[in-house]
Amino acid sequence: MAEREPMMAEKVVPPIMEPGYTFATVTDKISSIVLTHKTPRGWYIGFGISFALFMMFLYAVSVLFVRGIGVWGVNIPVGWGFAIVNFVWWIGIGHAGTLISAILLLLKQDWRTSINRFAEAMTLFAVACAGVYPLLHLGRPWLAYWLFPYPNTMSVWPQFRSPLIWDVFAVSTYAIVSLMFWFVGLIPDLATLRDRATGRVQKVIYGLLAMGWRGSAKHWSRYETMYLLLAGLATPLVVSVHTVVSFDFAISILPGWHTTIFPPYFVAGAIYSGFAMVMTLAIPIRKFYHLEGFITMRHLQNMSKVMLAMGLVVAYGYGMEIFMGLLYSGNPHEHFQTVNRITGPYGIFYAALILCNILTPQLMWMRRTRNSVWALFVISIIVNIGMWLERFVIVVSSLSRDFLPSSWGMYAGTRYDWMTFVGSIGLFLTLLFLFLRFLPTISIFEVRAMLPAAAIKEKH
């Protein structure tokens, strides 16, 4: 029996929060990261690197604006290239933030509390990165406002039957709703920062943003109703956004795109890559700011389980695509496209994406992997890469080999494609570092409400 004990110990579920915190220590611990006057040196290093990458992004975009879209690798037949690959990748990453903040709230998953704030921030910044790409891709980005319906001197309207216009509405609605969700979630914590700030500038800025929040019971009551309703609205919204993104492909008639499995398979892929990104960010943040007491192994384990489940849904999607293409549809073009995707000129990318998205994550079946921070960190990065490859294979392999062999062509990103892509990661990280420095990374009031002392014991 003695040798079985360690195994039993391993089975104990780690807590959502380390014991021993009080209302005051929770407030102190989280708000001190923001209110300290000494910015840690590591922050400067991280911000510096991110900002340098962001500058590279601006350089690449400036070249694009001056010389035109020809600096990218896109041409006929592959007209979509990196811009759309990156757009879908980023917007997919954003979806985990909404999932964590809205869907897990509705499902009463308490463990979401310490990760929802920065997951929502991640959503916002990922949507910002995503939103840039279709605009750059327009060719004449200064006319981007033509996408919106407004009374104009040309007296024409956007084509409302086009999925590309649906995309405009879906992504802008998503950006606005995510921003509001994030901001109203911040209001009570901004009030905490206002009340604890010592500098005049901090007091004024946090004071303005907190809008005079004072924690009134009447305010909380309406606030809670609003938060629940917003979560209820964000849940179908997040599903609809990636569905509409998949319509950009599925509504066309191109083999490999024209399929009804795209909407659910895109949504699952989005959640998959988003959770991978939350994990990639959460692991260094909890280490650097010593937040292991709030973001515990329980969170990492739960996220790895969600990733495992979503990875299997994505695997089902891949399997079903092959089944439809080879065995079921009987369409020679679909058949060719399926074989071409696996064994054609981009076959190596397909093999890599299967390795990254399907095979590697299976390691998470083992409890040992789920208990190892390093293993989870590495796997989450591999999944991020895999999901990028997936979008690359979808976009490029179908476009490069359409119905007529005479119109086939190959595609590769140019140096400006790569600079824009890596640069947009710089934009994302720059915003994230600013967020970590100036706003509370973890929702202070929600963590307070989770403490045992917050429970009301009825006396009658």
Binding site: W166, T192, M211, K218, W220, S221, M226, L237, E446
Partner: protein, 180 residues
């Protein structure tokens, strides 16, 4: 020159735990006070009913927002595609309503979400840069780890002496005057 004391707004009692506050709020309501409010660092479900705050109108506002958004979204597309700029493409219907559903849905969600956030702020009277409670220095702890109960002077039962003693009887940590 004689210093004029600022007028009184109400009295504020400070408690250490949410339990004490909820109990005190119930007692205050039972004693007949109605112009009362409580301030806490996190939402406490029992508290709003303890101070006699009936459920709010927010859900209705959100529903109306959503309906208006849906009508606007569909109306915009119908008007643009079928009325003001109809194009006949091979005899296909100009009111191709199934293709209008995604945008109608997005507009429904957008308007409902805007109604939820703006409705919450409007009903709560925010942004409100000034409130008399902020004049009490210890009130800063309402966003940290203390729990406050307030009785406004506007309450018909309010007397400075009597209400002060009543609040004292609820075993608070401290009772302070709120200046206007």
């Amino acid at each position: 020159m004689k210093q004029i004391a600022p007028p009184l707004y109400g009295l504020l009692a400070e408690f250490d735990t949410p339990n004490e506050l909820v109990r005190a709020a119930r007692a205050t309501y039972a004693a007949g006070y109605r112009r009362i409010d409580a301030f806490t660092p996190f939402p406490i479900e029992e508290l709003s009913e303890a101070i006699g705050f009936a459920q709010n109108k927010l859900a209705l506002i959100v529903l109306i927002g959503g309906i208006l958004g849906g009508l606007f979204g569909f109306g915009l597309q119908y008007w643009a595609s079928a009325i003001t700029y109809p194009i006949n493409v091979g005899g296909r219907p100009t009111n191709s309503w199934p293709a209008f559903i995604p945008i109608t849905f997005e507009m429904t969600v957008l308007f409902a979400a805007l109604a939820a956030v703006l409705g919450m702020l409007a009903l709560n009277g925010l942004p409100q840069p000034y409130h008399p409670a902020f004049n009490v220095p210890r009130f800063a702890l309402a966003s940290n780890d203390r729990f406050f109960l307030m009785i406004a002077k506007a309450d018909p039962l309010f007397t400075h002496q009597g209400t002060h003693e009543f609040l004292k009887s609820l075993n608070p940590r401290e009772v302070s005057d709120i200046d206007e």
